[in-house]
Amino acid sequence: MAVYIKGIASITAQHTFNQDNWLQPVPETALTCMPTIEPDYKAFIAPMQIRRMSKVVKMGVAAASKALEDAHIALPDAITIGTAYGCLNDTEVFLSRMLDQQEEMLTPTAFIQSTHNTIAGQIALLMGCNAHNLTYVQRGFSFETALLESLLLLAENPDHYILCGGIDEMTPTVQAILQRVGAYRTEPALPSQLLQQPLQGAIAGDGASCMILAGDARGAYAEIAGLHTFNKPASADVTLAQIHTFLEQHGLTLEDVDGIVIGVNGDERNDSVYHDVLPEGVTIIGYKHLTGEYPTASAFGTVLAAQLLKGAVLPAEWCLHKAHDRQPQNLLVWHHYKNYYHTLTLLKAC
């Protein structure tokens, strides 16, 4: 069945939350972690609750609320969220106190808010939504599992509206640990130069991207024409064959695709997986050099593709290679995590 993206909302390190300043340039600074541009949460959450909520929950609730508003939906028929890290900040607060205080004199607040499903649970609680509610936590495949589950749910109930999102927060601790294991850089880099000088490690970031998915095309941003996942390809040839086969099933070749949205992030080990496969002559769009890398960043890649298919104009710094001037009618979002989990999502203009 056809599935459409009916509403969207993204919080990232760029202006992605409001339409009026969408993707307007943010002054460029060399950093190791991109700061998120957080919205005014008071528009979505009561002040008392804002103070109690961690950043990841606030971002999640605001993006979910805004996406529903955008789709003119009061309550979704299912909520499915991907978050690799969950509520890191509250987890660390409780863990740290527990160890410092030798397991004595602890209070429950941080523990209560530490479970990975706190984000989806709070969204349901604030809206009074009793519907299906799931949280997936599979590293850089978390959002993709949520998206896949949304398609499965819509195939069962085509008249439903599904709230699907990818949400993660970065903390100084996680950044430091991931710098030690080489996933993030210790030397600041400028977004405009990050992809030109691939080294070991990406620039950190975080954010929340939500979308409303439904079987109803009216007013939609784009159609999700297909989604294919595969793991651990043995070689670049195998990956390319997977892409060809997937596109063939939708009557397309790589040359027919108006653009490929990929997750290059400045880490040469990550980026080469894309570069080893993609031929010359295709239009390539990137986003992680401007949003920073986090496991569910690809949710924004999907939202970005949806915006472009509805006619939004892409500023030059997001376009990594321009092969033509066509107004996009279809875009392939290709995301991989450590060359382990790959996801291909084909979006078409409505």
Binding site: A84, M98, T115, G121, Q122, A124, R139, F141, S142
Partner: protein, 399 residues
């Protein structure tokens, strides 16, 4: 419904057994696994009894084929998932798309607890091997790699209902033709983090827990893993697999009442049970046994019992909680109890709800308190509820 979801393999490890047959023997003999922690290094060893798997990480590694430096959750997961796969005896050499859909609540937290103090004092310190598998998804990934399952891997984390939801996603993936075989369930090891967390919530019992009793004081935490092997029906038939039963209904709902407490009327519980029954095409009267979530907390047992009464009226089927045997295994309990539900069907057995003496005044029914053998169990309802309002119900059927 279209293609049915066959259950062709079971695997479980808990405080009452290292495999399925030991678990069943303990359930039959009334042998609970709750006692003083020997492996978990906590200052509260004598404050809070737990249901601990009695093997060290080194022993679990040797038993499962895993590695001793893995998080304990991964070792428990490996042991039970491997048992389930062995039990299913899938045909070698047949082409099949296989998934591993697991669940856990705190990933490699028990290793993180060793890493963090040194790291906090000096960010260049702490062994990274103790932190690299902190993520819930990392635990699933290392087990999937060891089991050589590559087609699809994911992890659910919805607190105490996590692994029931793994079965749900697995069934949907098979029904819609994306996978043929799914090893579905979950695992969780005891950690100081969860023990102290539940302690702050004041919902731990200082003694052996008493689910559904009027004077219940709280839960005992446990650890373990439970998995089932789900197979597309046509393939199970074609391959001549032994089919132990079917996952005939499932549903997930949210209570939307409180982050950690259930609504008094059990709104989410009722919605999950009702929707799961609808999917299975059954009436409440068709259920012979309910394996309740039944944690032993004042809040859960009353909400769940109230929801059961609303759905079943004065015809509440045999019901018991097995949490007094295994403790509350959090992200594992839906998988462990799925295995118990299948064993109830296969062996015609209903497990006793241990430590029950007095009915909850608001409820109209008592749980089963004595072992029942020779029962004709055709349909079992299994409940799992969790923080964040997450409520899940599964229906298992003999045919």
């Amino acid at each position: 419904m279209n293609s049915r979801i066959c259950i062709c393999g079971l695997g479980a490890v808990t405080a009452i057994g290292r495999n399925v047959s030991e678990n069943l023997a303990s359930l039959r003999s009334g042998k609970a696994g709750v006692g003083t922690a020997r492996i978990l290094e906590t200052v509260h060893r004598n404050d809070w009894p737990v249901a601990e798997v009695s093997y060290s990480n080194e022993e679990l590694a040797a038993m499962s084929g895993g590695q001793a430096h893995w998080p304990r959750t991964a070792l428990l997961s490996m042991l039970a998932a491997r048992e389930a796969l062995d039990h299913a005896a899938l045909p070698a050499g047949e082409k099949m798309r296989t998934g591993f859909i697991s669940a856990n609540s705190v990933g490699g937290m028990e290793r993180t607890e060793y890493f963090y103090p040194a790291f906090k004092a000096d960010q260049t310190q702490g062994a990274t091997k103790d932190i690299v598998n902190h993520e819930c998804g990392a635990v699933t990934e290392i087990v999937a790699d060891a089991l050589q399952i590559h087609d699809f891997i994911t992890t659910v984390s919805t607190a105490c209902s996590s692994s029931a939801n793994s079965l749900m996603l697995g069934a949907r993936m098979i029904k819609q033709g994306r996978l043929d075989v799914v090893v579905a369930g979950g695992a969780d090891a005891l950690s100081r983090f969860t023990l102290n967390g539940f302690s702050t919530l004041q919902i731990l019992d200082k003694n052996h827990c008493t689910p559904f009793d009027a004077n219940r004081k709280g839960l005992n935490l446990g650890e373990g893993a439970g998995y089932v092997v789900l197979v597309r029906e046509e393939l199970a038939v074609q391959w001549g697999l032994k089919v132990y039963g079917y996952l005939s209904g499932y549903a997930n709902a949210n209570d939307a009442y409180h982050q950690t407490a259930s609504s008094p009327e059990g709104k989410g519980n009722l919605l999950a049970m009702t929707t799961a029954l609808q999917m299975s095409g059954l009436q409440p009267g068709d259920i012979q046994y309910i394996n309740a979530h039944g944690t032993g907390t004042a809040n859960n047992d009353l909400s769940e019992g109230t929801a059961v009464m609303q759905l079943f009226g004065d015809q509440v089927p045999m019901l018991s909680s097995t949490k007094a045997f295994t403790g509350h295994t959090l992200g594992a309990c839906g998988g462990v109890e799925a295995v118990y539900a299948m064993l109830a069907i296969e062996h015609g057995v209903v497990y006793p709800n241990l430590n029950f003496t007095e009915r909850i005044p608001e409820l109209s029914f008592d749980p089963v308190t004595e072992l029942k053998e020779g029962q004709d169990i055709r349909h079992v309802l299994s409940n799992s509820f969790g923080f964040g309002g997450n409520c899940s119900a599964l229906v298992f059927s003999k045919s």
